[in-house]
Symmetry: C2
Subunit: 383 residues, 2 copies
C-alpha cells in the first residue's frame, strides 16, 4: 500500500537481486479483452516482474496481486538497493515466499499507471489518453488479466495466489472463479465487502481529486495543470486509514516542529509526515488510476448472494489463509471473519488468524515475525 | 457539530420559542482584547443568544460553548420551526437544560463566522477582511471572550458551563482558570489533548482548504473564486469522524443509488449523504474560520504539565460531569478517562459516565435518553 511505512520495513535475508520490469501485449484489436461488463478493450499491455525459477513441472508459481497504489515491482531492486520492491521483506531467497523454491509473478493491475494499460494509456480510437473514457472494470477483470498473463507464461495452475487489501480481494475472486487452478489462496487484511465507512473514505478521496479545478474532467495529461492538490489530499487522507492511532502515537505523539506558536503550516511532526506522504505520491501515481482502483473496491461483493456463494464454494479444493491484524481499522478482523464465515459454511479448508501488530493496515507490508512465520508455514503445508 | 445528524434529532417538549441573535461590542480600540499571545485585537464584536430569564440573584446562568462549526443559535427558532437551534433537544422549557429554571447564554466563538469577530471581519488597519492576518488565539482566549460577554450581561458566577467537543474544551479551560465562577462544568465528549490521529484528520481537512487554488492565501472574500471545493472536502472528511461505522451501517449499509453500474458520481447512498453535508456546509461556513478553530484544538493541552495542573486543580470547588459515548471515535472515552484521571488525582468532585449510543461523536447533539437524564440529574445535583 505504501512504499515507505511507519514500522521498520527493512528486508530480511537476501534480496531477489536485480530484476527488471517486463512488458507484454496480452490483447490486441484482433483479440480484445472482454470486460465483465461486456465492453471490449484493446490493446491490453501488462507490466510484470518475476522472481525465482519456474520448475519443470510448472507447479511452483505464486502470483502476487498488488493493492490500490502498488505496482509490479514487488521484490528485488532495479539496479540499486534503494529501489527495493514494496514487498521485499516477504519475497526473496530464504524469505517467507522463498524464491529459491517458488516462481513469483507480479504485475501492475489493469487500470494502473505503472506499465499496464490504464486511463493514462492512449486510446487508439482517439489517439489521446483515455482519461475517464477508460471503461469501468471489476475485481474479476483485474484477476482475469493476470490469469491471461500466466497463460502467456505457460502457467496453468498456481501453487498459490496472495495479496493484501485489494490484492487479497483479487485472489478471493480468482479462487472463487477457478478453484482448480489455485492450490493455496492467501488473503491478507482483505475484505469481501467494503463497509459504508470504507466507501466514505474513498469517496472523499475521489472528491478531493475530482473537485480539484485542475482535474479537467480527467483530461489533464499533457497540460500544465495537474490535480496535484487533490491527489495529495487523497493520499494524506487514505494514509491515516493505513496506520493505527497507536502507531501514530508511538511514532509522533504530539511532537512539535520548531515553529513559533501556531501557524497553518507544518507545526506537528505528524503533519510533516503526512505532507511528505502526499508529495511523494504525486511523483509516482496517476489521479485517474486512483479513481478507478478505489471504485473497483467499493463494488466488490462476491458474497452478496450468500447462498449462491456458499453453494459455489462447496468442494472448492483451494486451501485458504485468512489473515488480519489487530490494529487494522481499514479492513479490520471483522472483514476477515466475514470471509471465514462463508468459507466455513461451505466446508472449505481454511486457516484464519489475527496477528498482533501495532502498525494497522500497513502491517501487511512489514516483517512482523508471527505473520511471516504464518505465511511460511502455510505455504509449506504446516498450517 | 452538525445541524442535521444521522439520528432522530427531533426536539422533545416545548421549544424556547422565537429567539433573536443579538450583537454586542465587547472591546474597541480604547479597550482592545488582549490575547494570550500578547497580541491585541479590536474591535471584538460578539453575536449571542439567551434563553429563559436571569433570576434576581443572578445565580441561574448557564453558558453553552459551541464546537468547531456551531454558532450562537443553540435553541428555539428564528421565526419558523425549521430554524431550530443546534442543541434544541437539550435546551428549552422542560428539557434537560430547563429554560424555565435556567438562564442560558450562548455566543459565537472568537474567530467565528456567524456574527463574532473573525477572519472574515474587517481589519480596521487595512479596511479589508483579516483573512489569515487574523491573530492566532487559544482555547483560553475563546473562553475569555465569553466571560467578557457574561460580565457585560451582569453575570459574575455561572451555575454551569457546558459544551461538547471543542465546547467542552473551553469549559474545561474556564473551570481551570476561574473555578470560583463556575459551580458545575459539563464536559461532553471533550478532550484535554488531541491525539496525533485527531490532528492528522484536521491537518488533511486544512490541506484540502489551503491547497484549493481558489483559496488565494485566505484573501478570497469578495472575489468570484471561493475555496468551496476544499471546504466541502474538509467537511465531508470531518463528517466521517463525527459518526460511527455502526451508524453508517445502520443508516446506509451498501445501499445504491440508481446508476447503471459504476460511475465516479454518487453511486452509493453514503456518497449522497456526504455530498449533501459538504454542499450544505458551504452556505453557512467560512473556510478561514475552519482553519482557525481546528488549529486551536490541536494546540489545546491544559494538562501538559501534569503536576502543575493537579496542583492548580486541588481545592477546585467546581463539580465536573465528564461524559463520553461508547461509539465516539473522534474523542473516544479514552479522552474522557484522561480528564477524569487528572480530576481524580486533584481530588475534584466529578462524575464520569460513558453513554451507550450508536451515533458516534454526533451523539452529543442527539436526544439520547440516558444522556439527557444524566445532564438533567447532574444539573439538579442528583448526580
Amino acid at each position: 500500500m505504501t512504499h515507505e511505512t511507519l514500522g521498520s520495513g527493512a528486508g530480511m535475508g537476501a534480496s531477489a537481486g536485480r530484476v527488471e520490469t517486463q512488458h507484454v501485449r496480452l490483447h490486441d484489436e484482433d483479440d480484445p479483452f472482454v470486460l465483465e461488463s461486456g465492453e471490449k478493450l484493446a490493446p491490453v499491455d501488462v507490466a510484470y516482474e518475476t522472481y525465482g525459477e519456474l520448475n519443470a513441472e510448472r507447479s511452483n508459481a505464486i502470483v502476487v496481486c498488488h493493492a490500490l497504489t502498488g505496482d509490479a515491482h514487488v521484490a528485488g531492486h532495479h539496479g540499486e538497493p534503494k529501489t527495493e520492491g514494496w514487498w521485499d521483506s516477504m519475497i526473496g531467497p530464504g524469505k517467507p515466499v522463498d524464491t529459491d523454491t517458488y516462481f513469483v509473478v507480479s504485475s501492475n493491475l489493469l487500470g494502473g499507471c505503472a506499465g499496464t494499460t490504464g486511463p493514462s494509456s492512449i486510446d487508439p480510437a482517439t489517439g489521446k489518453p483515455y482519461g475517464l473514457r477508460f471503461p469501468h472494470f471489476s475485481v474479476r477483470d483485474l484477476a482475469k488479466v493476470q490469469r491471461s498473463l500466466l497463460r502467456k507464461l505457460g502457467i496453468e495452475r498456481l501453487y498459490a495466489g496472495m495479496g493484501g487489501s485489494l490484492g487479497g480481494m483479487q485472489i478471493l475472486q480468482w479462487a472463487l472463479d477457478h478453484p482448480q487452478e489455485m492450490k493455496n489462496a492467501l488473503l491478507i487484511c482483505a475484505s469481501s465487502r467494503l463497509t459504508p465507512e470504507n466507501i466514505a473514505f474513498s469517496s472523499v478521496a475521489r472528491n478531493a481529486i475530482m473537485r480539484d479545478v485542475n482535474f479537467q474532467n480527467g483530461d489533464y495529461y499533457g497540460t500544465d495543470r495537474q490535480p496535484d492538490s487533490g491527489l495529495s489530499v487523497a493520499r494524506m487522507l487514505a494514509h491515516i486509514t493505513y496506520v493505527s492511532g497507536q502507531a501514530l502515537e508511538r511514532k509522533f505523539g504530539r511532537e512539535r516542529r520548531e515553529t513559533e506558536g501556531p501557524t497553518f503550516g507544518i507545526d506537528f511532526q505528524i503533519e510533516s509526515y503526512l505532507d511528505h506522504q502526499g508529495d511523494k505520491f504525486l511523483k509516482r501515481f496517476d489521479a485517474n488510476t486512483y479513481l478507478y482502483l478505489s471504485r473497483v473496491m467499493d463494488y466488490f461483493d462476491p458474497f452478496a448472494d450468500e447462498a449462491a456463494a456458499v453453494e459455489r464454494l462447496r468442494g472448492n479444493p483451494t486451501r485458504f489463509l485468512v489473515v488480519s491484524f489487530d490494529t487494522d481499522w481499514r479492513f479490520s478482523t471483522a472483514h476477515s471473519l466475514e470471509i471465514a464465515r462463508i468459507l466455513e459454511k461451505a466446508g472449505c479448508d481454511f486457516v484464519r488468524e489475527e496477528i498482533a501488530s501495532p502498525w494497522g493496515h500497513d502491517s501487511f507490508l512489514l516483517p512482523v515475525p508471527a505473520y511471516h512465520q504464518l505465511v511460511r508455514d502455510f505455504l509449506a503445508g504446516k498450517r
